[in-house]
């Protein structure tokens, strides 16, 4: 039996000690917003917050989690998608397929918590999750928008129909 605090709720799960936190979250707790992508901490689709820091849950065994640790998943980031990162993501229509975006949003939220006004270089270093659809340009913009450095709006405005041949 392991005691977990996930999204402010205390739960008990009965799993082998080496079960990755990701699969406890997905299969025992039943929260599926946190995704499996690689299982080796490469892609970041499984990113969650552990005591406010960003971790890749596929590579953390449940035995490493203490009952006092606070885990936050995408479902617990905010009520009603009201976190500035979620709002910025919506305003710029960031997601394409969306599969990596839980992890991207958790990574961006963790970045802004520790560095409220990140530079492009800071974003380069912090936002290392894979997006196979290639939404990187909008992710960068959206992090700046969430930080209040830029106003939101429609990313599409940059892609007006130029001319009619």
């Amino acid at each position: 039996m392991a005691k977990l605090n996930i999204n402010g709720k205390v739960l008990e799960v009965s799993v082998e000690a080496d079960t990755p936190l990701l699969w406890v979250i997905r299969e025992q707790v039943g929260l599926t917003g946190t995704k499996y992508g690689c299982g080796i901490a490469q892609c970041g689709a499984c990113s969650v917050h552990l005591n406010g820091g960003l971790v890749r849950s596929c590579s953390i065994p449940i035995s490493a989690i203490k009952a006092t640790d606070k885990i936050v998943t995408i479902e617990g980031l905010s009520p009603y998608s009201s976190h500035p990162v979620q709002k910025a993501w919506a305003s710029l229509d960031v997601p394409q397929c969306g599969y990596c975006q839980s992890g991207q949003i958790m990574a961006a939220a963790a970045l802004l918590k520790h560095n409220p006004h990140p530079s492009d270089k800071d974003i380069d270093l912090a936002m290392t999750n894979i997006c196979r659809c290639g939404t990187y340009a909008r992710i960068r913009e959206a992090v700046h928008v969430a930080a209040g450095a830029k106003s939101g709006g429609n990313a599409a405005a940059s892609a007006g129909i130029l001319s009619e041949a």
Binding site: P20, R26, G33, Q96, C97, G134, A156
Partner: protein, 733 residues
């Protein structure tokens, strides 16, 4: 129907569809369908209350449900198709929601929704006509119902945002109020419907926000990998690492005691699976399962043996001649200056971030699958074949995909596996998830190819002849061998066609010889986003730069001189050159490359600005991409696809490579099969230059110009051409 965007909804409830006995006899391949005609569904005793036609359902609360029959995998087709229907329907966009018919419903209704496959950048361009007519037909019926109710003629009424007005009597009603009456009317003759002039569009053609974003922001969106069903068990499978090998035996006694394990099962001749209570338990037990494989003769194959085979094809006799204009070999032989180069591109895995998975449930007279699929009807057929349950007793629950890129189209190997396992557990839903390693090593890879190009230039540097020989594996030979039994496979020459319309070469050479040497391997191949345009654009566009260099001419001017017969290609090239300020000098150390190509009915061009560090590290600063897709349906989503295409193209350019050793794929996960990260993403500027005289695709066509534009810029920076991909294997300085 599956709700396609319902922000906070996470359950998978769905409407029970009653299969009409007459309709159920219809096959999958009905040649004739009328997506907008015939008797109204209500009159046939089918469909929902408020269904005006197959595409539009209006609820009393004014909700306008638009049916979208194509898969959504991030490319934005869902929103685009809804815009096209709503444009003709003239409903209020704020009231629009979407739902998706299932393959079973499409079958039962004689394919009223047409083809459901979503690939080849066809989602919009091959259904735009009938979905727009579907929207228009619904509008006509709704207006007729209002006119009938007021006892006036239909030409006295008008509509705006779903509000119908009879100006003479100042009466108004709404779509929601007349929908039930409209649903009882006979549909208008589709031929009588006048579609709007796209230049008068107010919903389509606009950069509206996607309809399906909300639940991607809070973890509530359910992908197939997230499906939970009562009593469900989980499976992890492993196939012989060598393609063509067989499963000989496995020692299930070694794992049957492990936590959660239910059973070890043979899936097919080459695949074994562990079924357990959780997927993690299944995965751990499978990793511990002793398995004996018969790897077969292909175990002797490697990247080196395959490269030799392709190299032989570059000069072999008796290959397929696709184009022969004039006598290129003679013109080249007689020319004072020759240019020659051999290029090569590797196998590539798709690497959708959501790995292959499917949940199947097979009972004696019913089979169902929950699946991420680009082709629901192929999923249905695979389910029926593998389960032995007749088509009309099968159903597909297609969930939006966590990436597709061509991997989840016709082959449906993962549906077959899930079904084969589920068949051994009657009435129990089985969720099969592949590990990333299984996904990366059991793909249908982008085919490997090499290309030899030889050109002759005259004394002024003008090309007098060009000989292009592609040698490589054929997708058709793998997926549909009878279609290319004679080796004549034009598909591998995509982008080099003489014929206008789809993937036409934008240059005219006085003498031109185009050949294809089919050199197949044991590695399974299939369409990979952009398919053959990606390699063929690298070959042609980099070689054009090599010719220009030999001629001492600027690459843009060199291209323009060859493009007189291809004004649409040229217009896009000119547009990108102008936007990128091609003539303007760049800062010291920054270099420019340009490329243009055509695929999927659309014209694309790119300018790349890059630098190469003294240590040989590439930095792509800026990409300007122009596209003429004919009719832009959502400029915001076109820009998103172009941005994504840059990432997709750069990943292939810099890192993409599936190598073969001892018959198996070497790269297994993202630590060796690398995907570009945010830090390497350049600034992307998209320009859309539509001509409104055709309908082209968007999801794929701009990928192919990314690599050659960057490669040409590298050539400009280093003075050395890059002829072999990926760049991770190439020393740039």
């Amino acid at each position: 129907m599956t709700k396609r965007h319902a922000p906070m909804q996470t359950n998978l409830s769905r409407r029970k569809f009653v299969v009409g006995s007459a309709a159920a006899s219809g096959g999958l391949a009905l040649g004739l369908y009328l997506p907008y005609g015939g008797l109204p569904a209500a009159a046939q005793g089918m469909g929902d209350v408020g269904e005006i036609n197959a595409w539009v359902l209006i609820k009393p609360d004014e909700t306008c449900v638009i049916r979208v029959a194509r898969s959504e995998m991030g490319q934005g087709t869902l929103t685009g198709l809804a815009q096209l229907v709503a444009e003709e329907l003239e409903c209020n966009w704020k009231n629009v929601t979407t739902e998706s018919p299932t393959a079973g419903e499409n079958l039962a209704r004689k394919r009223v929704w047409g083809e459901m496959g979503t690939g080849g950048s066809r989602g919009i361009r091959t259904s735009e006509d009938y979905v727009r007519r579907g929207g228009a037909a619904a509008r006509i019926m709704l207006l007729q119902a209002a006119a009938d109710g007021w006892q006036v003629t239909v030409d006295e009424v008008s509509v705006s945002d779903g509000v119908i007005t009879h100006a003479a009597s100042k009466r108004q009603t709404t779509y929601g109020k007349v929908a039930a009456a409209a649903a009882r009317l006979t549909a208008p003759d589709p031929k009588s419907i006048m579609l709007k002039d796209p230049k008068a569009w107010t919903i389509a053609g606009k950069p509206l926000k996607r309809l399906d974003t909300a639940d991607k922001l809070n973890g509530s969106k359910i992908y197939a990998i997230d499906v939970k069903l009562p009593g469900m068990l989980n499976a992890s499978s492993k196939s012989c690492p060598v393609f063509g090998g067989k499963l000989v035996s496995y020692d299930d006694a070694k794992v049957s005691h492990m936590p959660g394990v239910h059973r070890v099962v043979k899936v097919n001749d080459a695949t074994v699976a562990v079924v357990a209570d959780t997927w993690w338990h299944a995965k751990v037990a499978l990793a511990a399962l002793p398995v004996v494989w018969d790897e077969g003769p292909a175990a002797a194959q490697s990247s080196a043996t395959i490269a030799e085979r392709l190299k032989e094809g570059l000069t072999a006799e008796g290959v397929f001649v696709s184009r022969k204009e004039g006598d290129a070999l003679k013109a080249i032989a007689d020319s004072p200056k020759k240019v020659e180069a051999v290029y090569s591109t590797p196998f590539l895995a798709h690497a959708t971030l959501e790995p292959m998975n499917a949940t199947a449930k097979v009972s004696s007279n019913r089979a169902e699958v929950w699946v991420p699929t680009q082709n629901q009807e192929a999923s249905l057929a695979a389910l029926s074949e593998e389960s032995g349950v007749p088509l009309d007793r099968c159903e597909v629950h297609a969930l939006d995909l966590g990436g597709g890129f061509g991997r989840r189209g016709g082959t449906q190997d993962y549906v077959r596996q899930a079904t084969a396992i589920a068949k051994q557990f009657p009435d129990v839903p089985i969720k099969l998830i592949w590990t990333r390693e299984e996904d990366t090593t059991h793909d249908f890879y982008r085919p490997i190819s090499q290309c030899r190009l030889v050109a002759g230039l005259d004394t002024s540097g003008k090309p007098v002849g060009l000989h292009v020989r592609v040698s490589g594996q054929s997708i058709n030979a793998y997926l549909n061998p009878s279609s290319v039994a004679d080796g004549k496979d034009d598909r591998q020459l995509q982008g080099y066609y003489e014929k206008a319309g789809d993937a036409q070469l934008g240059y005219t050479f006085p003498n031109f010889l185009l050949e294809y040497a089919m050199r197949n391997t044991h590695v399974p191949v299939g369409p990979w986003r952009g398919v053959n345009t990606n390699q063929n654009a690298v070959y042609m566009e980099c070689f054009i730069d090599e010719m220009a260099r030999a001629a001492g001419t600027d690459p843009l001017e060199f291209r323009r001189a060859l493009m007189g017969d291809h004004p649409k290609h040229l217009a896009v090239l000119n547009a990108v050159a102008e936007k990128a300020e091609y003539a303007k000098p760049l800062p010291a150390g920054v270099h420019r490359g340009i490329a243009q190509f055509m695929g999927y009915g659309s014209y694309s061009a790119a300018v790349a600005e890059i630098s190469v560090s003294p240590e040989g590290k590439l930095k792509v600063h800026r990409m300007v991409i122009a596209i003429n897709c004919g009719h832009p349906v959502n400029p915001g989503q076109i820009a998103a696809q172009v941005e994504g295409s840059v990432a997709f193209g750069l990943t292939a350019l810099m890192y993409g490579e599936s190598t073969v050793d001892k018959g198996r794929i070497v790269e297994q996960n993202f630590n060796s099969y690398e995907i570009m990260r945010l830090a390497e993403m350049p600034k992307v500027e998209t320009i859309i230059v539509p001509t409104y005289d055709f309908w082209g695709g968007v999801g794929e066509p701009t990928i192919c110009v990314v690599s050659p534009a960057v490669m040409n810029a590298i050539h400009a920076a280093t003075g050395k051409p890059v002829r072999s991909l990926p760049l991770k294997n190439v020393k740039l300085v």
